[in-house]
Amino acid sequence: MKSKKLLAGPYLFWSVSFIIIPLLMIFYYGLTDQDGAFTFANLAKITTPENLKALGLALLLSLISTLICLVMAYPLAMILASMNVNQTSFIVLIFILPMWMNFLLRTLAWQTLLEKNGVINSILSFFHLPQLAIINTPYAIILGMVYNFLPFMVLPIYNVLVKIDKDVINAARDLGANNRQTFFKIILPLTVPGIISGITMVFVPALTTFVISDLLGGSKILLIGNVIEQEFKQGSNWHVGSGLSLVLMIFIILSMALIAKYDKDGEGTAF
């Protein structure tokens, strides 16, 4: 058994070098100023009105998108789970397949679809329907988030759903529960690990995205991800950028705590 443990050696080395140390680097940068002196000033930058607003907006948009994803994904996962297709992999692949079309291109395609003279509006005006004017608004960003992250909500819920023993559901029906009661008392509680995992897998990337807001928000809408990206790529103040990243990590740690609490066995993994 000893020798088996050694197999984790390379990974241990790798994770220390490329996961732990880099995170410590962020801590170092986040807690020092340009001269290397210790400071909380970078963290405090989050309290400036602009940054607070960017964070608030990012929180709001990502929460809304997460909620929409959940509401859309749950019935979808249930339908997929009930389809009784033994080629589960095929269903999963339908959701993974779009990833082979580059993420940026997919998002950019929404621009073409949503623009004033875009595809959707052309179709709408053909039928003399009112125009859809959501490009460069927060709604477009939400759409982009939902579109990009929906699979990350569907897959964990689906994976938990298919693992539920059919007889557990039968037992509930057998004991007198109707469809609604069976759903709320049995199915929903049993899929909590999947839901939690789905929520974090949508919420975290949505909270921190800068690409989607860039491409679909017309650069009018600044999210916290944009602020951090600009600190690194344009403002060139890595200390402030790291400080803001540290603030973001609070939310990420919260998500991990949630997962640790509700999904102990890692049932709700997406894949």
Partner: protein, 357 residues
């Protein structure tokens, strides 16, 4: 005998091309312990699930207490099921599991608490209220599953191989427990198993099934002593099944030798199957037997010795409390009433003829 409680009339069910139940007819009396016995794939579990309401039949009727319940959903049926793998709700405590059905019926708190205590006592698990299902052993989980079902006071309890996952000792204990429970509750049990010993131990009535057909219905004694065909004979206990010819009433020719027997009405010179249980064969001196053979194998089995005797090109399986060493030449003798004669199936498919009661 008590009234018919459930009447299963001409029920058929198939999955795709696979016919699982074919025009099946069966009734179940009130307060009966009825066992559906058969090899896996014989349709017994499907029948149970149709009764529970988890599957619907393609044709035929399920009559419960005089009413057709074909279209009644499981939650409206007055029966409860104990599932093979227990199907406990892992996100609830033991008490919550047991209380599930009662809460849905809107019973009072006091009533529910009483019932939980009563049910746990009944299954010998007092004090387990706040444990989670994961923390219990298989046998304990099984008993909780039973407790969860019976607190709802169903008229019928359906049990789907409930002891399949338990080890031998526990299984035997639970068999007695189930008999005790049934006597205390005074309700009908419909029990599915592929274990013939379990069936013989607990049942009032055994229904032997194979390939979607009922092979024989009867008391455990009937089934064991008078199997109606080779399948039943082979499936229940060990037996020697021999091709034979019914020479005339009360005389059968087995392996070229005439044996006196007690069966009548098969006609003259008709090919039949003869069943002789291993413990019914007496090994005697060569000159005293109807047949002469040599002992080829000998194994000590605790209660008895198991021997194989080669005679007239057939290996006879013999159980005896007396040991006969390998190589001994012996005579084989069978009492006439220990020979069970069965009609020979005319073709391969005939083996599965539906048996009307």
């Amino acid at each position: 005998m008590a009234n018919k409680l459930i009447d299963i009339v001409n029920v058929s069910k198939s999955y795709g091309d696979n016919l699982v139940l074919d025009e099946l007819n069966l009734y179940i009396r009130e307060n009966e312990f009825l066992t559906l016995l058969g090899p896996s794939g014989c349709g017994k579990t499907t029948l149970l699930r149709i009764l529970g309401g988890f599957e619907s039949c393609d044709s035929g009727h399920i009559i419960f207490d005089g009413k057709n319940i074909n279209n009644v959903p499981p939650n409206k049926r007055q029966l409860n099921t104990v599932f093979q793998k227990y199907a406990l709700f892992s996100h609830m405590s033991i008490a919550e599991n047991i209380a599930f059905g009662l809460k849905i019926k809107g019973k009072s708190k006091a009533y529910i608490n009483d019932k939980i205590r009563y049910a746990l006592k009944l299954v010998n698990l007092d004090g387990y209220e706040n444990r989670t299902p994961d923390s219990l052993s298989g046998g304990q989980q099984q008993r909780i599953a039973i407790a969860r079902a019976i607190v709802n006071e169903p008229k019928v309890l359906l049990l789907d191989e409930p002891l399949g996952a338990l080890d031998l000792k526990l299984r035997q204990d639970m068999q007695y427990e189930l008999i005790r429970l049934k006597n205390e509750l005074g309700i009908t049990f419909i029990y599915v198993t592929h274990d013939q010993e379990e069936a013989l131990t607990m049942s009032d009535t055994i229904v032997v099934m194979n390939q979607g057909y009922i092979q024989q219905i009867g008391t455990p004694e009937d089934i064991y002593n008078e199997p109606e065909n080779a399948f039943v004979a082979d499936f229940i206990g060990e037996s020697n099944i021999l091709p034979a010819v019914m020479v005339e009433d009360k005389l059968v020719k087995i392996l070229g030798v005439n044996f006196p027997c007690v069966d009548v009405g098969f006609g003259k010179n008709k090919p039949v199957d003869a069943v002789i249980r291993p413990e019914d064969i007496d090994l005697v001196k060569p000159e005293e037997g109807l047949l002469e053979g040599v002992v080829t194998h000998l194994i000590f089995k605790g209660v008895h010795y198991e021997m194989e005797v080669s005679a007239n090109n057939f290996d006879w399986l013999v159980h005896s409390t007396d040991m006969v060493p390998v190589g001994t030449t012996v005579g084989i003798k069978v009492d006439p009433f220990d020979i069970q004669i069965m009609k020979k199936p005319e073709s391969e498919d005939e083996e599965a003829v539906p048996v009307e009661e």
